[in-house]
């Protein structure tokens, strides 16, 4: 018995509102922002891909994963092998298989294969690990990240070890990152409101009741894990082609912390939370970065010592956590305001009655 207003408010608006928000930010940056602002916005959009990717699994299953950045690493290296530096790829990475060392793959094909590889990796490790619940699952996923990190930093002939692979094409500009964010949001959104997402969310709220209602929690978690791994992989590819280098240090605790912090600050149970978290924290980091560089008030210049940026971030983060422990959005999607919604509803109801 849903009127069009209900459908719009409940099914369309939660996604549309996020798309509109991001479009507004991108448009503003494109028109009014300089190259620096545009870079920041691009970076934030890529973070949205990562955090939304994590949200698919963490938000719907309720299992906090400390290992999702391993999918980012897998996909970033995969795209580097395929697209990097044709002239001397074979020289710096002698262990690459023939078909990778000799051939240059188109960027788009590399995106697809890298995302598939990340998804396949998620499937392979998910098969055994996804059975675990709670803190055991979190630590096992962290163990996966550690293994990827250790292996990739010592596999010199294929990954270049601890040194970076440089010279990737930097095609991930603001429009490309925006497109990536849209893809991530759409995938996450349709998953969340599909019957698969519904079943998984049911298992998050009460695993045993969901099982009793016929939900195969294992398979539903695995589906979300693979999807989530693929989207995080997409984020990894974009990130690699944004900074143009791939280095294993970049895929370790630092980014695990910042992405999880964004998700928790925004509210990990909703897509709106993922987006709001990224936008808030990226803005905060950028502001603090500006302050650290020095604010020119004309008559006096305020500059803070380096390191203040991180400390400020930590303090604001703690303040948000203390005052809004379930995140800024409290894990809710954006819905149309009660008043407007009610008015629409009364209009549709009355038109139906007449």
């Amino acid at each position: 018995m849903e009127g069009w207003a209900d459908i719009f408010a409940r099914r369309v608006w939660p996604l549309l509102s996020l798309v509109l928000l991001l479009s507004a930010i991108v448009l503003l940056a494109a028109i009014a922002g300089g190259p620096l602002i545009q870079r920041t916005v691009t970076e934030a959009l890529i973070m949205i891909v990562l955090v939304v990717g994590m949200q698919i699994f963490i938000g719907n299953s309720g299992v906090v994963s400390f290992g999702h950045i391993s999918f980012m690493a897998i996909a970033a290296y995969a795209t580097a092998w395929q697209t990097c530096c044709p002239a001397f790829k074979a020289a710096i990475l002698p262990g690459l298989p023939e078909f990778l060392a000799q051939n240059q793959v188109s960027s788009l094909a590399a995106v697809v294969t890298s995302v598939l590889l990340a998804g396949a990796f998620a499937f392979a490790i998910g098969l055994p690990i996804i059975r675990l619940t709670g803190i055991g699952a979190s630590i096992a996923m962290f163990a996966v990240l550690s293994i990827v990190n250790t292996v990739y930093s010592n596999w010199d002939s294929v990954t270049g070890g601890e040194s970076s692979i440089i010279g990737l094409p930097t095609y991930a500009t603001m429009p490309v990152a925006f497109l990536g964010a849209l893809v991530a949001l759409t995938v996450a959104y349709f998953y969340k409101f599909s019957r698969f997402g519904l079943a998984l969310r049911a298992s998050r709220d009460d695993e045993f009741a969901a099982r009793a209602a016929g939900v195969n929690v294992y398979w539903h978690r695995l589906i979300a894990f693979v999807l989530s791994g693929g989207v995080v992989g997409l984020g990894g590819v974009l990130h690699a082609h944004f900074i143009g280098t791939v280095s294993i240090d970049a895929y370790w605790i630092g980014i695990t912390f910042i992405t999880l912090a964004m998700l928790v600050v925004g509210g990990m149970r909703s897509l709106a939370g993922a987006v709001v978290g990224v936008v808030m924290i990226s803005t905060l980091i950028e502001l603090l970065r500006q302050v650290e560089k020095g604010l020119d008030f004309g008559f006096f210049k305020l500059a803070l010592p380096p390191g203040v940026q991180e400390i400020g971030l930590a303090i604001v983060l703690l303040a948000i956590l203390i005052y809004r422990p379930s995140g800024i959005t409290r894990g809710q999607e954006f819905t149309l305001g009660g008043q407007i919604f009610a008015r629409f509803k009364s209009i549709t109801m009355s038109s139906r009655d007449s």
């Binding site: 906090v64 675990l132 619940t133 055991g136 163990a143 991180e310 400390i311 930590a314 983060l317 422990p325």
Partner: protein
């Protein structure tokens, strides 16, 4: 034979260090379901407290130059105070938050402490020499054993016994155990939440202080990220030992230490650099076969 014995002592000594760190993490997890990532930074701050705060390249010992007993007491006191302050300022307001929020909170504390140290002391690793007498070796039965390893094992043994006595025989210990079992029930029966959590933090800080001193004596280097690796292994140890079980945490610590040393010795040379990957693989295997850890506490099991 002597070679094997040598490795066994190495393993027990490393395991002791991990067991101490794991107990520090496990104590707090038991009473408030917080995985305290900042525990590593308690260790780091304890180590940095030894020297004069400055960004100079050469470290000037301050507390580190005091007589051994005074130094140990001062460092332990500083870390205990730090742990208590963190509890009061950050974790008390967050007490009822879900575990993910708590963990991110502890990440933020860690981030804060590390960057404070970066600002005050600078980012370069610094050399410092404390309790250097302990780095000599003694020869027992043809074995060359660093005194420090003996000290580490001895101290751990004493602390484990002390902690066991504290938990089993004192009122506070009883309250901590009751709170770990069922926090709400314990409160209903008159256990004061603030006191018991503060006690757990104090004990955890004490253990972090001990680890700080042992680590610094052994490595002689201060580095702002020095707490990260021990705390990661401590997490792993508490989880495979059985989250919420203190004997489990100690057992897990010894196991992780033993497995690390064993892999270091047994792995072929080409794979030795990948040792940590094998340690973590072992962790995943343990979890797959015993999802609740080796000594699963009754309280941690989900009830339906």
């Amino acid at each position: 034979m002597t070679v094997v014995l040598q490795h066994v002592i190495d393993a027990v000594s490393l395991g002791s260090l991990y067991a101490l760190a794991a107990l520090g993490v496990g104590l707090i997890f038991g009473v408030m379901r917080l995985i305290n990532f900042a525990h590593g930074d308690f260790i780091m701050v304890g180590a940095y407290a030894l020297i004069v705060p400055s960004t100079a390249i050469v470290a000037t010992p301050l507390i580190g130059a005091w007589p051994a007993l005074a130094m140990v007491a001062a460092i332990l006191a500083i870390v205990v105070l730090l742990a208590l302050a963190t509890e009061r300022i950050v974790f008390r307001p967050l007490r009822n938050a879900d575990p993910a929020t708590l963990l991110i909170g502890s990440f933020a504390v860690s981030f804060f402490l590390q960057h404070m140290v970066l600002i005050i002391y600078g980012g370069r690793p610094k050399a410092i020499d404390i309790l250097s007498g302990l780095n000599e070796q003694v020869i027992v039965l043809g074995l060359r054993i660093p005194k420090l390893e003996i000290a580490t094992i001895g101290i751990t043994f004493v602390l484990l016994s002390g902690l066991a006595l504290f938990l089993k025989r004192t009122m506070f210990g009883l309250q901590i155990r009751a709170a770990a079992e069922d926090f709400d029930m314990a409160r209903l029966l008159g256990v004061r939440a603030n006191t018991v959590i503060a006690m757990a933090f104090a004990a955890s800080g004490f253990l972090a202080g001990v680890v700080a001193l042992l680590l610094t004596t052994q490595s002689g280097v201060l580095y702002f990220g020095m707490g990260v690796q021990p705390v990661l292994f401590a997490f792993v140890a508490t989880v495979i030992g059985g989250m919420g079980s203190l004997p489990g945490a100690a057992l897990g610590g010894f196991l992780v230490g033993t497995v690390s040393v064993a892999l270091q010795v047994l792995l072929p040379f080409e794979l030795r650099l990948n040792r940590d990957a094998f340690v973590f693989l072992a962790v995943i295997l343990v979890l797959l076969f015993r999802p609740g850890g080796l000594l699963q506490s009754r309280a941690a099991k989900e009830r339906v």
